[in-house]
């Protein structure tokens, strides 16, 4: 039985959000001036929310661990942002975006939230353009679009391969306007280390100034967690090095439920691992799959020859190549969703067809695109009888204009020219669909504590389609949270400033200080990274792209044991009252070591295959994921009770009234 109240408004799907907004209590502008909001995180989700809340008149304090809000991990997003604008006239609509997203998420997201997302998506583009975000344009001056995995329309807006950067700069400029007005105080190089609850409500945070080491108290009438995703629990991922779960985990330990921790997106087009020294993995935007074709050799001996360097991929004849996505999924081909593409790559590599030294890579080949675009350009330039070489050069220029920075990034890392030889790619941990459980108002199970962006669980289900995380972050930040938080704050207009000298603040600060001192005083022998890498290996081997019950059971036990060893044996040099990145890492890894166990536990309990969660026991004869709607059509929301392994499961039943729940097929 579901027993969590998601507070979904009544009424027809398409009217829910409008009706809800009409019902919401408003705070009068004079009163907003007396209300403080803390925003933990200044990526797209936190930055947009901070700017809008400040615009509305609230006093906002923002926190981020980088030296500038503009460096948040959102900056790295490459491919684009979706919106149901139907500028291309190819049949897009709010309903279709809603439908694609629910289906893409393998029917594990909330209808009402996703519909709202689709509904406000078009406003995001208007907003960003007004703020000066330089999206790609056509020669006629109108906005250009491209398409992403899992959909058949062209609804993705982009700025070369730097969409996240441009959106974040837009959002940061909106923040800057409010900083200049004095409505936002930006605390950079600050890390939130605990949530303070007073009288059952979130009333502040404990943060550490990462330059001086000082531990600070900050109070507010509401606290918003916009701290991003936790993919770094795997050590190797496409996330920035500092991305972490700490803020989300701390609120979980204070009472916020943590939902679907095992739903992790593995992205199919990343640069493969090259060696033990590797600190992170680099994504090659999924938009490349619009033009690149994915293949491995058909014959095992060819794959072997390529691995050993005896055969070049360009020498392999067309009929000896296996374009396995086009073969298996003719309708979507190379544009199947990420979970499907990732598993298919793993399947081919596990079967021995991998093409790099480690056998864990497939090709992403642009030669057909060079020809196609080259011919088009030759035609528009009225070239007579161009040679094949000329055509290829023209085509390369078109591809360069579209993806130049990605090709350059690839070449820098791999030291091979992707214009001359196909790129090698392999799946890597990318995005976490799980996160803090929130209701329709984006409020967690702690009153006054909200969560937005990748830090919450709400809109993506078990698999996120491309270009939808940016959309969610900005939709929540610009257009949803500013309304819904007002409803909560309307009852706080007489509260006055929240003092920070209360016993609750004393207690929270003391706990944070003791934990940090414990690291500094520990007489261990191993570095923080040593433990993080070992955790990552357990996670990847046993809780990674495909999982089974025995491995998951082992993982739960191993992570627990590793956590104990960590607390005994970790060594953190330096002091508390100084800039100390090792100490920062130690505190983050300590939280990953707890989350990891809950993650495995969640994966173990979910006896079905679903989106990013593939359980080997549950698959069709053709190796496709086999969902169990009868028993698992719910959100798994975990309540912390003292140890991650003892967390209690609460269920939010997912009810589909507007969409027919079907097996997901991309054939």
């Amino acid at each position: 039985m579901g027993n969590l109240d998601s507070k979904i408004p009544k009424g027809p799907l398409a009217d829910k959000w409008t009706n809800h907004k009409n019902d919401i209590n408003l705070v009068n502008p004079a009163n907003k001036r007396n209300i403080d909001v803390i925003m933990v995180g200044t990526g797209l989700a936190g930055g947009s929310a901070a700017a809008t809340l400040a615009e509305l008149g609230y006093n906002v304090k923002t926190f981020c661990y980088q030296d500038s809000p503009r460096r948040a991990h959102s900056i790295a997003a490459q491919g684009g942002i979706n919106a149901a604008k139907n500028y291309q006239g190819d049949g897009d609509s709010n309903y279709r975006l809603f439908y694609d997203t629910i289906k893409g998420g393998d029917y594990r997201s909330r209808e009402a939230n996703v519909y709202r997302l689709a509904e406000v998506s078009a406003n995001i583009i208007d907003q960003c353009v007004a703020q000066g975000v330089p999206f790609a344009r056509e020669y006629g001056g109108l906005l250009d679009n491209r398409s992403f995995g899992g959909v058949l329309v062209s609804r993705t807006f982009y700025a070369k391969g730097q969409t996240g950067q441009q959106l974040l700069l837009g959002c940061y400029s909106a923040m800057n306007r409010q900083i200049n007005r004095g409505k936002i105080t930006s605390y950079t190089r600050h890390e939130m280390l605990d949530l303070v609850i007073v009288g059952g409500k979130a009333r502040g945070i404990i943060a550490r100034n990462l330059v001086t080491g000082e531990i600070e108290r900050h109070s507010a009438h509401a606290v918003v967690i916009a701290s991003g995703g936790y993919g770094n629990v795997f050590f190797l991922s496409t996330n920035a090095m500092g991305s972490n779960v700490t803020a989300a985990w701390k609120v979980h330990k204070k009472g916020a439920y943590f939902a679907n921790p095992c739903f992790t997106q593995i992205h199919p087009t990343c640069i493969p691992v090259s060696g033990d020294h590797q600190s992170k993995l680099t994504l090659m935007s999924e938009s490349l799959r619009n033009d690149g074709r994915i293949w491995v050799p058909k014959k095992l001996e060819d794959a072997k020859a390529i691995r050993e360097g005896r055969l070049k991929p360009t020498e392999l004849k067309e009929e000896d190549r296996d374009y396995y996505l086009e073969r298996r999924y003719p309708a979507f081909g190379n544009l199947v969703p990420r979970d499907v593409a990732s598993r298919a790559a793993k399947e081919r590599c596990d079967a021995g067809f991998g093409v790099n030294k480690t056998g864990e890579a497939v090709y992403l080949d642009f030669s057909a695109a060079f020809l196609r675009y080259g011919k088009e350009t030759a035609n528009t330039q009225h070239l007579e009888n161009p040679t094949e070489q000329q055509i290829i050069e023209l085509g390369k220029a078109v591809v360069e204009a579209k993806y130049g920075n990605l090709f350059q990034m690839y070449e820098k890392i791999v030291d091979q020219n992707p214009y001359e030889t196909p790129m090698m790619i392999y799946p890597a941990v990318h995005y976490t669909m799980g996160g803090i459980w929130v209701d329709y108002n984006l409020q967690t199970t702690i009153p006054g504590c909200f969560a937005t962006g990748e830090a919450n669980f709400s809109d993506h289900g078990a698999n996120r389609l491309g270009a939808s995380a940016l959309m969610q972050g900005l939709a929540d930040g610009y257009f949803v949270l500013p309304y819904t938080i007002g409803n909560y704050l309307a009852s706080d207009i007489r509260t006055g400033k929240i003092p920070t000298d209360s016993p609750e603040f004393d207690q929270a600060e003391k706990a944070v200080r003791e934990k940090l001192e414990r690291f500094i005083n520990n007489k261990g022998t191993r570095s923080v990274d040593h433990f993080h890498k070992r955790l990552g290996k357990i996670m990847w081997d046993k809780v990674g792209m495909s999982r089974n019950a025995p491995h998951l059971q082992e993982a739960v036990a191993e992570i627990k044991a590793l956590r104990e060893e960590f607390w005994q044996d970790v060594k953190v040099p330096g002091g508390l009252n100084e800039m100390n990145p090792e100490l920062e890492k130690a505190a983050r890894v300590a939280d990953f070591l707890e989350l990891g166990e809950l993650f495995a536990k969640d994966a173990l309990h979910r006896n079905e295959s679903c989106g990013g969660h593939f359980r080997e026991e549950y698959q069709t004869e053709e190796g496709e994921a086999l969902r169990d709607d009868e028993n698992f059509m719910y959100v798994a929301a975990w309540e912390f009770t003292g140890e991650p392994g003892d967390a209690i499961l609460h269920k939010e039943d997912l009810i589909y009234e507007n969409i027919e729940v079907k097996a997901r097929s991309y054939k």
Partner: protein, 247 residues
């Protein structure tokens, strides 16, 4: 590869710093420069010494956090890249590498290789934005058609990552390339024209207040900029500034 590393060590902003020498073996040419420093730090931690503190985050050349002066050049010997995109294959076995923080009066050292670049933030806060309400009640995006050339030019200016290499490369520690990139992005777009004069005046004023030097058209900034931000931006900013001062 075996390397000799000469690294600037400085306990905090108030302390005096000095170059310290480290020997490092087992460096793989496929490692990035920052991964090489990770290996050094792992060694130092294991030996009970304080690791070298440096700034970094995305490690894919987009956040602008990593900021090292390597053998006298911001982001090292390669062109068009950030430090995290620099790979050890650009060095040879037996090389000596000097690693220092970005040097500029407006970028005080906080610790070891980390500098405080918040002066850049204050320049943007002085006016680097378009004053538009964020509540989504704006007009339809396609109601503001923008010639592709202008949109592309604005995008190129907007691709500055705020790393500060231009300042570190400049003998006057000038912030003109950075500031002009920010001014240009908005000056090139119709949405940004309305406030163009007040914006450029406010940003330049703040830039001067922060203690950056003047531009003497040496062009070192453009050469070292990882994103290829061109000097044209400076020319454009100067034009904008003249226009605003006169008008």
């Amino acid at each position: 590869m075996n390397l000799t590393l000469k690294i600037w060590r400085q306990k905090d902003a108030a302390a005096k710093g000095k170059i310290q020498t480290y020997q490092l073996g087992g460096v793989d040419p496929d490692m990035s420069f920052l991964e090489m420093l990770d290996v050094l730090n792992e060694d130092l931690v294991n030996k009970g010494e304080d690791p070298v503190v440096f700034d970094h985050d995305c490690r894919e050349g987009i956040c602008g956090t990593c900021s090292l002066q390597i053998n006298g050049e911001p982001h090292g010997p390669d062109r068009g890249i950030t430090t995290c995109q620099l790979h050890m294959r650009k060095f040879k076995d037996g090389d000596t590498i000097v690693i220092e923080p970005f040097r500029a009066k407006a970028f005080p050292v906080l610790k070891d290789l980390v500098v405080d670049r918040s002066a850049f933030e204050r320049i943007q806060q002085a006016g680097g934005y378009i004053s538009v309400n964020t509540s989504g009640t704006t007009q339809d995006a396609n109601a503001i058609p923008i010639p592709k050339e202008d949109a592309d030019a604005a995008f190129f200016s907007a691709s500055c990552i705020g790393c500060g290499a231009c300042v570190a490369a400049c003998k006057n520690a000038s912030a003109m390339l950075f500031t002009s990139a920010k001014v240009s992005q908005m000056a090139l777009l119709p949405q940004g024209r309305v406030e163009a004069s007040t914006r450029v005046l406010a940003m330049v004023e703040q830039m001067d207040k922060e203690g950056f030097g003047n531009c003497t058209n040496t062009g070192a900034c453009e050469i070292e900029c990882p994103k290829g931000i061109s000097l044209e931006n400076i020319a454009r900013m100067n034009r904008e500034y003249m226009k605003a001062s006169v008008g």
